[in-house]
């Protein structure tokens, strides 16, 4: 099965407030018309199970909440190689998205390039909404995603319109 070359993957739990930022960004991006070489994917609470979604892509852009000890709303951009896999999750043995990328490598199907766009959460607790400091970052995050898509050598059609 031939895969769409560029994957924009929002992960996180949208019933845990700011943890769900990745999913909220995907929902927002779905309102716009995008070129057909880009796939938007709500990865939800899966980590490890996303292996079959990320493998074989030219570029994967992951959006997730990241705890990097900076003020809430801080945006980060890094690649999985920047952080050690075994240190990436709260617990030593959790198999999340970083580990899934490692396993893709093990299968020799790692994406050509992976970029993680992270947002420092303000509040992670039961709830379906984002805090305003994180929600206000959505347009900037989408800009960052679009920049990454541009870098991948794709011309974004100029007629992106709000439906």
């Amino acid at each position: 099965m031939k895969k769409i070359p560029i994957l924009v993957l929002g992960v996180g739990n949208n019933i845990q407030m700011d943890d769900g930022i990745g999913v909220h960004v995907i929902e927002e991006m779905k309102k716009n018309l995008l070129p057909e070489n880009i796939e938007l994917y709500d990865g939800g609470t899966a980590g490890y199970d996303l292996l079959g979604i990320i493998d074989g892509r030219k570029k994967v852009i992951v959006i997730d909440a990241v705890k990097g000890q900076h003020p809430p709303g801080t945006l980060y951009k890094f690649s999985p190689d920047d952080i050690p896999a075994e240190n990436s999750y709260d617990s030593l043995h959790q198999l999340g998205i970083i580990e899934a990328l490692k396993l893709a490598e093990l299968q020799n199907k790692a994406p050509g390039q992976t970029i993680i766009i992270g947002v420092e959460p303000e509040k992670i607790d039961w709830g379906l909404t984002l805090t305003s400091v994180v929600k206000d970052k959505i347009p900037r995050i989408i800009e960052m995603v679009m920049d990454e898509i541009d870098i991948a050598g794709n011309t974004i059609s100029s007629n992106i319109s709000n439906n």
């Binding site: 739990n13 939800g44 292996l51 900076h70 490692k102 396993l103 992270g118 960052m144």
Partner: protein
Amino acid sequence: MGKIVIDPITRIEGHLKIEATVEGGIVKEAKSSGMLFRGFEQILKNRDPRDAQRITQRICGVCPTAHSTASTLNLDSAFGIADKIPDNGRILRNLIFGSNFLQSHILHFYHLTALDYVDVTAVADYSGKDPHLLQVKKFIEGGNLAPFVPRYEGDYRLPKEVNVSATRNYVEALDIRTKCHELLAIFGGHMPHNMSMMPGGVTENVSVDKIADFRWKLEKIRHFIDNVYIPDVLAVAGVYSDYFSIGSGVGNFLAYGVFEMDSEPDLTKRKRFFPQGLVSAKDLKPGKFDPAKITEHVKHSWFKSGSDLHPSVGETEAQPGKKGAYSWIKSPRYDGKVYEVGPLARQINAYVRGYEPTVSLVNSVLKKFKASPKALVSTLGRHAARAIEAKIVADAMAKWAMELKPGEPVHADFEIPESGEGMGLTGAPRGALGHWITIKNHKIDNYQAVVPTTWNGGPRDDKGVPGPFEQALEGTRVRDEKNPFELVRIVRSFDPCLACAIHVVNPKGTEMGKFVVS
């Protein structure tokens, strides 16, 4: 006297801590603690009842399909349509859930537990041409040992060639799991968090093309189960056969039943592919199950809610720091007693009721190891039951897919009642899963879920009786306190999975300042 603390013990999402007090090499006391508050029930209150089906799928990154199934059965019953589900809808739900079973059991054996038995370093001097093994070798040579470490040392017993082939199969199992997800998506629409299951049936229609696609993908998975997964479990059992008598535990087994075979509205009477019921290891006789006898104790849990309540009137009020408490998990009890849930509980229930093909498959395994049925009640028994279950489910799915009728309805219409109560009982890959709902003014008034790892991993109950993990650990001989292989092997045989609520990336020890974007 020493204290062994294993935190976390799960190789997958979750925060489970095991504390074992060892005296003279024997575990004298074991405490199982869930370290994360799971209170999603609170956000369901006053919402549209249909939201429960979508929201409960999000509480877990591993078993969304199981929650999707339990909440759907729960809403079928609350909406009074449990007897109206068309055959296509019933079968498609079984196929969606079955796909999830297959990926989950394969994941558990290869990626969550095999590394306790299989020595990956055997691949270090591999000189053959298998691409999977060459890639693993490259990982090891690069000092790139995650996800193979951390691990304990000192008890890897498989012959080198089996270590090598099982490592190869670890990588192949990743491909097979992806196929399971693709299988699920044919009728489930999306993975994770399928979009298709709903009260009344499913949203995806049946076509000849989809059936053919389903059968084609399923055949590859069946081939893997029969020729790779089951032989690997048997190979492990062959050299670690002492684990047929280690980690036996409580010996009471509870199964709610799973995979719907008819549309009887009463879930205690409905025909399920794997039966509902109770079994005690003492006499191996089938016992009848009554859902009214389920309660949850909270004496040793960080909750101020009332204790010994039925889940339909359950409460979820946190009290961190509560005296005498040591877990965020409650202690579910049946008729006041401790019960183990999971594939072993399901297969023992099927076995004592004479269900085929469980009986033949279990007997062939027992014959191979010259063991009596009581050997099933053990660490290896849990692995064997899981592998047997994967085969039975995969074989049945091939049959079920051919019972679908293209063009015929897949769901029944419904209305949300002004008030009502519902109960959804099913078997998740990890064991008995129940959802309960109370509806008032067309909204959710109360929602409670009792999940498998609550049954298995809960703390001592109000009477001080330890939970299933705790009982399985207590009395175990630990050869080397620094490498407590025995303890992780026992707990992982239950396939623990907990409170998978938070998925934030937390790059510990990495200075993130250089990655900040303005």
